[in-house]
Symmetry: none
Subunit: 221 residues, 2 copies
């Protein structure tokens, strides 16, 4: 069972996030500020730390820097929580050494899927970057391999393909796709997904992505 350290000054959020993660079987420990976080992290050795960007005194970015400077926490995963529309924090967060970023308002599904995805990635246990139907995705290098030929994709296309690819055969609804690829509060038109699907089909061939009318899309195995 993975241990997650959750840091936020607002107890509502602490509780909400904590609830949603416990529900999925994670062990969650919490605290209210950066200082405690650093102590707790050293003591508890969590697999993942979720940091709110906006906190009084020591903010998330600073806390992240501090954490990263501690040797035993060099490889611990760090995710930021950031307020609506703060694009800045995303950038600064990654600079500070964050591994991912979750926008507020927090949607439980997005939260859980990001947390799982990131633990899966680095947890080394799964995601040995498998090949399905002759296609392989390399997240590190941000490349697609098809029949041993590599090529790159724009971010949205890459993320969309990666999502469908993460569970070949599973149907992803538009809602889920939007949550995962575009993120929490982003609102884009209905046809945007279609266009990206089209581009992927153009580049990969039609046989890989299947439409389930009225339901969603899936990566065909």
């Amino acid at each position: 069972m993975e241990k997650i350290l959750l840091v936020d000054d607002e107890n509502d959020i602490l509780e909400f996030v904590s609830y949603n993660l416990s529900k999925e079987g994670f062990q969650v420990i919490t605290c209210n500020n950066g200082k405690e976080a650093i102590q707790l992290a050293q003591k508890e050795n969590p697999d993942l730390i979720i940091l709110d960007v906006m906190m009084p005194e020591m903010d998330g970015i600073e806390t992240c820097h501090e954490l990263r400077s501690i040797d035993k926490l060099k490889d611990t995963l760090i995710i930021f929580l950031s307020a609506r529309g703060e694009d800045y924090s995303q950038v600064a967060g990654f600079d500070a050494g964050a591994d991912d970023y979750i926008p507020k308002p927090i949607k439980p599904r997005l939260l859980v899927s990001r947390v799982k995805a990131i633990l899966r990635r680095k947890g080394g246990k799964v995601e040995a970057e498998e090949t399905h139907s002759g296609i392989r995705i390399d997240r590190e290098k941000y490349l697609i391999f098809k029949d041993n030929k590599e090529f790159s994709l724009p971010k949205k296309e890459f993320e969309l393909l990666a999502l469908l690819f993460s569970k070949p055969g599973k149907v992803f609804t538009r809602e889920i796709i939007l949550d995962n690829v575009w993120g929490g509060d982003v609102v884009v038109g209905d046809r945007t997904i279609d266009v990206h699907i089209r581009k992927l089909r153009e580049k990969l061939g039609d046989q890989y992505i299947k439409t389930i009318k009225g339901v969603g899309y899936k990566f065909e195995v």
Copy 2:
């Protein structure tokens, strides 16, 4: 038997939702506004509270906040009902501490499955995909397996089969079928169900779906 507190100012909805949940074996108690809800919740200790977002005086969001501030209700599950297209309420609802969200117009099938899903998560139980008469339904992949051969079905046919399949041998009346597959407020002609049944029989073979004249249809075991 799980207890559900249902809060809505419109009696039509109260009745409709209540009917659909009772039918599934839940104990449903109802009231018309936030104030009563808070009192009832404290007295009855429900497992789940379903709140309409739009209510006079105290709306769902506010009620939710109030409920969350009561200690013994901290862990009670809360689901919002929200009017068509109000994406805002989804966001605001989660901020307020909701666990899920059901869009109006309410489709009984969606309603029941969300309610079950969320109660299941809390209870920690998981359902397995069973095989009956050589047929298995995979919701995730949106596929039917017959004698280990897979094939897909259009949405309505899939949902119709899935409904009958959910309780093999049980007779489903046309009314129930309409409620579940089409949703409460949709009105379709008399022969529409027959046509879908026919298509299913065409694809699966006649032996699986049996007509009980004057009553309804069932999946034959």
